[in-house]
């Protein structure tokens, strides 16, 4: 399963980079969001670290949706999904492979969003590098696990599947809330008393989305049209 997932991730990264379109849209949308919020700020007004963190994670979330839609759309060009479903490997390797590819692209996008947050929202990052890295990797793991499920759902054509994505999307809110609070801490450098609690919440939702992906992906991706 791991070998198949790595092959899938490698293929997806190559195809998405070669195609460029999905990737550029995701990046531009995130940057646009950051830019629009920078315009909303008055000349003498300052953006709080928490507000800046919220905008950063919003940009990440919208980017995640577009990335995973693009990743799953790759399997619809010539019906490749059918061939993938006949492989002698667990279907979850498709979910894991696309999740891994999505996480790599998400990290690369955040590599652009972080300096954009500093410039557009006039932030001065005071927190440590390791703490910030730990937050981003942990939050992105959950976003990628959930995003890979949502991407599979978005390719379904049945109305019930569209409804499912509407239901699952709000489940990301606790993860985002924790990421925003911890992100504010990482920007301001001010120690947060309940930081470890928020971090535990992130880990719990990571586990939840990983378990949901492993348990549900087969049913979702196999659903008949």
């Amino acid at each position: 399963m791991i070998r198949a997932a790595l092959l899938m991730a490698r293929k997806d990264l190559l195809l998405l980079c070669a195609r460029g379109a999905g990737l550029a849209q995701a990046l531009l949308l995130g940057l646009l969001l950051l830019f629009i919020f920078s315009l909303a700020r008055g000349i003498a007004e300052e953006f709080s670290a928490q507000a800046a963190s919220a905008v950063f994670w919003m940009a990440t979330l919208f980017c995640q949706v577009l990335i995973f839609n693009a990743l799953y759309a790759l399997e619809e060009d010539n019906g490749q999904r059918q061939a993938l479903l006949m492989l002698p490997v667990p279907e979850q390797s498709i979910w894991a492979g696309k999740g891994l590819a999505g996480m790599v692209i998400l990290l690369a996008a955040q590599g652009v969003f972080i300096p954009a947050t500093v410039v557009f929202l006039d932030q001065d990052i005071q927190g440590g590098l390791l703490g910030g890295l730990r937050l981003i990797l942990t939050a992105d793991l959950g976003l990628a696990a959930a995003g890979s499920l949502l991407g599979a759902l978005a390719q379904g054509r049945a109305a019930r599947e569209s409804l499912l994505s509407v239901i699952i999307f709000p489940l990301l809110l606790p993860l985002l809330l924790a990421a925003i609070r911890l992100g504010a801490e990482a920007i301001s450098g001010a120690g947060l008393e309940e930081a470890e609690n928020w971090f535990r919440l992130l880990l719990v939702f990571d586990g939840l989305f990983l378990a949901a992906g492993l348990a549900l992906f087969g049913f979702i991706y196999n659903a008949q049209e």
């Binding site: 070998r3 198949a4 092959l7 899938m8 293929k11 190559l14 195809l15 070669a18 195609r19 790759l74 060009d77 010539n78 019906g79 490749q80 059918q82 061939a83 993938l84 479903l85 006949m86 492989l87 002698p88 490997v89 008949q224």
Partner: protein, 219 residues
Amino acid sequence: MLLRLDKVAKFYGRKIIFKGVSLELEAGRILLLCGANGAGKSTLLKIMAGLIRPDAGRAAHTLTTNGRLGYMGHQTFIYPAMNALENLRFWAGMHGLEYRASDLAALLQRVNLLPFAAEKAGAFSRGMAQRLNLARILLLEPELLLLDEPATGMDAPSRAMLEAEIIAAAARGAGIVWISHSLEADLPRAHQAALLEGGRLAFLGSATDYARLLTGAGA
């Protein structure tokens, strides 16, 4: 017995596509599946491939190795942004097959695509894409081969190559279900024939008997 369908039925909403379809396929045999457009041949083939669940009845195959099932549907399953060789390499890897670059080159040679190995598959004509799809299936050395109008878009030399590969696969012991509308050309190559008509299996027997039936009906 390689493949067995037992009273299989499929409905779309309240409409019956077919019901009570039972058939068996042994290793090394070619079954030609016939019927008019909309008779449900492709749906039945997808049920055999495990891509669609039947609404009633049971479809089962007894492949010795998981994944040795080759399915050629209406779509080509190739990635347009990857070249022919990369496509084969990806599918070989996903099937867990050990291969050398020379193996893949030999396979492309077999389907007359070696000169186009480094070309993006998106630039291929329908016939070339179908040949690459055939190479993807030959890679698996399938025990069960399910072919849905595989000659679509192919020119005469490619059709001849396809037919030679089908016969060679049967000679190696693969069971083959082959949907074709070119009965005159393809029926002599089959051992069995099945006709889907009016939502049921209207004929199931030897290809020779079916050819005789068609000749009688035509006379």
